[in-house]
Every structure is written in C-alpha cells, then in structure tokens.
C-alpha cells in the first residue's frame, strides 16, 4: 500500500450539499421554544415584575425608613417597574436563563445523543455552533423582553401612572420612559449574551448540562465576590459583572452612557472569547 487514501480517493471538489441555514435556525427555535423547561422558565420570569409590582403597591409608604419608603417613591411611576425588575433579575435570574439554555444547547444535546444525529446529517461543527448560539441568544432576548413587556404593562396598572421618576429628580414622560426601557432591554440582553457565550464554551466541553450550568453560575458568583473586595480593584475591570450596577444610569437625566458603553464593550469581549473557545472545542469534540 504505497498511495495514501487521500491520494487515492476521489477529489473532494465543489461545495458539499448543506441544509439551508434558515431551516436549521427555524428548527432550532422550534426545539428550544417547545422545551418545557424553557417555557416554564420564561413564564416564571414573566411573573417577576408582577410579584414585585404587587409588593410595591402593598407597601403603603407608611414607614419613613427602609425599603418601604423607597418603594413608596415608585408609586405613580409605573414605567420604573420594568427597569427595577431587570435590575433585580440581572445578578442571578437572567444569567440562570442564559446558562441553562447554553447548557442544553450542546451538553444537553450531547447527553441525549442528538448532537451525534446533527453532526451525522451532517451539519458542520462551526455551523452547528452558530445555530446553537443563535438559539441561546434568542431565548435570552425573549427572557429579557418578557420582563420588560410584562413590567411595562403591570407597572402602570399596579403602581399607577406611566411616568418615570429619574435619579436626577426629573420626571420623564411616557415616550422617553419607554425609550429607556428599550435601551435597558438591549443592554441587559448583551450582558446576558456574554454569560451565555461563556456557558456555551463550557457546554461544548462536557456532556452533562448540569456541569455547564453550575460552573457558569459559580463563576458568576465568584466574580461578584471578587467585585466586593476592594483590594482587588485592579482585577475588577476584567470581570463581567463590574458594569452591571451601571444599569441605574438609565434612570438619570440627562442620560450618561459612558459607563453603559464600557459595559457593552466588556460584554462583547466576553462573547468573542466564549464563542472562540466553544469553536475550538467543537472542532475536536467527540460526539
């Protein structure tokens, strides 16, 4: 046997047949959005602004100190509710959604044996990762949007009023307020995409979705702890949650985007790194 197989084999010319990308994306969304845990998760997220809104409306504002006093300020400023809920769900609830869908996207499919089927179809590995990233990104966007939409509806109903009291003391009318909510949705979504990208990289390395989810959240918790240690100030610009507090900048008048922009770039860096690691791992992964 002198000739190697590569020499002896037929020339691999022309483009290999591929399933249309839109069909793959549609199929992925169909799968993601039919998964019971996605639906339950999104449903529970939708309850969050309602629960918070009810809590605030029950706070009579009689207390002059503590959270009750703070919540009392929200009354009549219904469009603050979506922002407040996003702020409250950002540290854990939303990252949980991103990590969960990323864990299911690769590790979960691997555990089910379905990743094998997709690779055998074949869907090229890089393309498959692209489809998966699209699925995670969509679920994340939907999750953030649900909070915002439910919040924007429940806020005026429960708290009364459609204005937004800013931290600067001014009050925004409906349209500018809705603009701030939309900005918040976009900004938070990009931040959670960064979590999802890292989770996707971990998800590509294991076939246990639980490991991908747990390690992503553990990493996030460690980051949050490191954020609170002042002697580690030099490290903090590299940590994703470093800018998560700046979501409050969205309720300042006039709008100060500097810190929010820095946060966006930081998230983009995390997305690039996460997807690169995932691609590298996918290329050699045994399915």
């Amino acid at each position: 046997m002198t000739a190697t197989l590569a020499e002896a084999s037929a020339p691999t010319e022309g483009r290999a047949p591929r399933a249309p990308l839109t069909r793959l994306l549609r199929s992925e969304l169909r799968w993601v959005l039919r998964r019971p845990r996605t639906l339950i998760g999104l449903g529970l997220l939708g309850l969050a602004p309602v629960v918070i809104g009810i809590g605030i409306s029950l706070a009579t504002g009689s207390g002059r100190n503590g959270p009750d006093a703070l919540f009392g300020l929200l009354k009549g400023n219904g469009l603050l509710l979506p922002l407040l809920t996003l702020f409250l769900s950002m540290p854990l609830l939303l990252p949980l959604v991103g990590a969960m869908s990323a864990a299911d996207a690769l590790a979960g499919e691997s555990a089910n044996g379905t990743l094998r089927g997709l690779l055998l179809a074949p869907v090229s590995r890089v393309r498959l990762l692209g489809v998966k990233a699209f699925g995670v990104a969509t679920v994340t966007l939907i999750a953030v949007a649900i909070i915002a939409v439910v919040g924007a509806i429940a806020g005026p109903l429960l708290l009364g009023g459609t204005s937004m009291l800013t931290l600067s003391g001014t009050t925004l009318t409906v349209l500018p307020s809705l603009g701030r909510v939309l900005l918040a949705v976009l900004w938070v979504t990009v931040q959670i995409w960064a979590v999802g990208a890292i989770a996707l990289a971990i998800s590509a390395c294991t076939e246990h979705p639980l490991i991908a989810m747990a390690s992503t959240l553990a990493g996030l918790i460690v980051c949050t702890v490191l954020e609170s240690i002042s002697s580690l100030g030099w490290l903090q610009p590299y940590l994703l949650p470093d800018s998560w507090g700046s979501i409050v900048d969205l309720v300042r008048d006039p709008l100060d985007m500097s810190s929010l922009t820095t946060g966006t770039w930081r998230a983009v860096c995390y997305i690039v790194v996460g997807l690169s690691l995932a691609t590298a791992r996918m290329a050699t992964k045994d399915a």
Binding site: M1, T4, L5, A6, A8, S9, A10, T12, G14, A16, P17, R18, A19, P20, R23, L24, R26, S27, R30, W31, R34, R35, P36, N112, G113, T114, L115, R116, G117, L118, L119, L120, A121, P122, V123, S124, T284, D286, A287
Partner: protein
C-alpha cells in the same frame, strides 16, 4: 507463530486473493484510537465493498463502536486514515455523510417531542432533503419501521423497541448509499428483529451498502454477505461470509451405530476421527470424503448418513475470539 495465527493468516490470504479490486464504500487503513493509555482500536484495515452487507462482529469492548464512530467522523482517530464513499475524512465529511444513514450507540432523541417531531428535526438538518418534502419523508420513514400509529406520542413514552425503530427511521429518512447500524436489534422483540432483517434485505436489494455491528451471530449469519471479526481492538478476520466459513478445517460427519468398528477401520487407514454424538467426526486432512466412505463401507460399517461439516459462524467466531490469552498477546502490537 501459533497454530491459531497460522489459521488466521490462511483465512485472510484466502479472502484477499478472492476479492478483486472492487469499489469500496468505506475503507480504513491503520486505524488506531487510544484513550489515555488504553488502546481501543489498533491497526484496523477494514474494507467495505459497495453493495455488501458487512456484519461487524466482536465481543463487548472489541472496538466495534469506536471503529464505526471513526468511520463516520464522530471520533477523530489517533492515527490512520478513513475513506467514506470515496471521500477522505475528515475533510470530505460534508460530501460523504449526506449519503450515509446511521444508527450509532442507540437512538438519540428528545423525550419531550413526539416521534414525528423528532424526525422532522432530524429532517431539517438533512442536506439532501428539500424543505417541502420533509413531512412526507418523515411519514414514509415512520411507516417503514412500523411506527406510524405511535408517531404522535412523546418519545418519552416509547418502549425500548419503539425507540430503536425511531432510530432506524432516522437512518432511513433519505435514500442512502450506505447505512451504518450499530446493534440495530437491541431491545427489539422477535418480530422487530425480523423486520430489521427485512429492512436490511430490502436495502441490499436496492443496491445500498450496509454495515451492521452485532454480537448476535445468528442475525449476522442470516443477513450478511461479508463479515469482519474484531477482537481486542483489531480485525482478526474479514471477507465474504461463505469463504470465511469454508476456510475452517474440513470434516465429515458420519451417522452410524457401529462406532467402534468404524473408528478401527479409519484408524487402520490412518484417518483421524473421533466419536461425536450418534456417529463420528472425520477430519478430511490428507483424504477425501469418497475415500472415507469407501473405507467405512468396505469395513462393513452401516453408514446411515454422511454430510460435510459446515463450520457455523459461531464456531468461527469462537475460534477467532476465544483463543488463549498467550496467543493473543503474541499478536498484540506494543
């Protein structure tokens, strides 16, 4: 070299000599896969002729599945080359795999989707399936494996056999040139097993190449034209089933009641024989069947029946895989 090895070499050379340059649907050269210090597969040179039904046999852990996974590009070999439908892997996977249907390591589907939804998801990823024809292809495949009635039920509620059928349906979703079935009858009832056999026979009749791995020898003997036997990660025999079976030592089985007379007569004629069952087994080394019969008849032995002993696949398999450990170690490369 042990007797074992001699026989093995004999088997392989006989097969190699009788296989002219046929088109190969798949072949591997020097395939090797190690996991850490464990050698899963080593020196596997597998030839899968186009149009053949190749039964891949081997005890548990002999490297069947690992070989199949490397053949399909799911696992990257540590060393060696794989060619699938004329395309070298991994580069040619995009060209070869659309024509390959596979059921590897059991069926893999989503429990919360129905059988039909699961197949539609598989269909969406199939490059050769037009978007408009996915529904029909899915329904046809479900019909073919006898799952049409349960197609709307969630995969979670399927029995083991139904799951296996759905896996088979996914492999048959598109007309294929090569079908790879890893333990296809796992969990199937006897009628399911028969149906799988029928599916394989139909594919064979339609000109497709089939690779079936199994540890059920009867299944392989009933459906395959070719056999490859794996043992401890390496191919110990491969070729056409009929030739492999004939390559065993020839013998004649004689039914008679005069066993002692017969044995004495044969011993006098220097033919090796021994009592077995209700007659004797005569080795046909250095003699022929007519000569043996003449000897027996001349000695006055009442021969009821004489037939050529045809080695079953089971015997061949046992001979190839249950050899003494020492003999195997000698074969094993380090």
């Amino acid at each position: 070299m042990t007797v074992e090895a001699n026989e093995r070499a004999g088997v392989e050379s006989a097969v190699a000599g009788s296989t002219p340059a046929r088109v190969l649907a798949a072949r591997t050269r020097g395939l090797r896969k190690t996991y850490g210090r464990t050698v899963a597969v080593d020196r596997v040179d597998l030839d899968l002729p186009e149009g053949a039904v190749l039964g891949m046999l081997g005890p548990n852990g002999s490297g069947k599945t690992t070989t199949i996974r490397m053949l399909l590009g799911l696992t990257q070999p540590t060393a060696g080359e794989v060619e699938l439908l004329g395309h070298a892997l991994p580069g040619g996977a995009g060209h070869a795999l659309p024509h390959v249907g596979a059921l590897v390591e059991g069926p893999g589907f989503h429990p919360f989707l129905s059988g039909r939804e699961n197949l539609r998801r598989v269909g969406a990823a199939e490059p050769l399936l037009a978007t408009g024809s996915i529904r029909k292809a899915v329904d046809d495949a479900l019909e073919r494996v006898g799952l049409a009635a349960a197609a709307g039920r969630n995969y979670r509620g399927y029995s083991l056999g139904m799951k296996q059928r759905l896996g088979l349906a996914a492999a048959l979703l598109v007309p294929r040139r090569l079908i790879v079935l890893d333990e296809p009858t796992n969990g199937l009832d006897p009628s399911g097993t028969r149906e799988v056999r029928q599916v394989i026979a139909d594919l064979h009749a339609a000109g497709a190449t089939v690779l079936v791995s199994s540890h059920l020898l009867a299944e392989v003997e009933a459906t395959c034209t070719h056999v490859a036997v794996l043992h401890q990660g390496t191919v110990v025999a491969q070729g056409e089933l009929a030739e492999l079976l004939q390559a065993g030592s020839p013998a004649l089985q004689v039914s008679t009641e005069d066993i002692s007379t017969a044995l004495n007569a044969l011993r006098a004629a220097k033919v090796s024989a021994r009592a077995e069952g209700d007659g004797l087994r005569v080795e046909l080394t250095g003699t022929t069947a007519p000569e043996v019969l003449r000897t027996l008849v001349q000695a006055g032995v009442a021969v009821q029946e004489a037939r050529r002993h045809r080695a079953g696949l089971e015997e061949l398999f046992a001979r190839l895989t249950e050899s003494e450990p020492a003999a195997i170690d000698a074969e094993e490369p380090r």
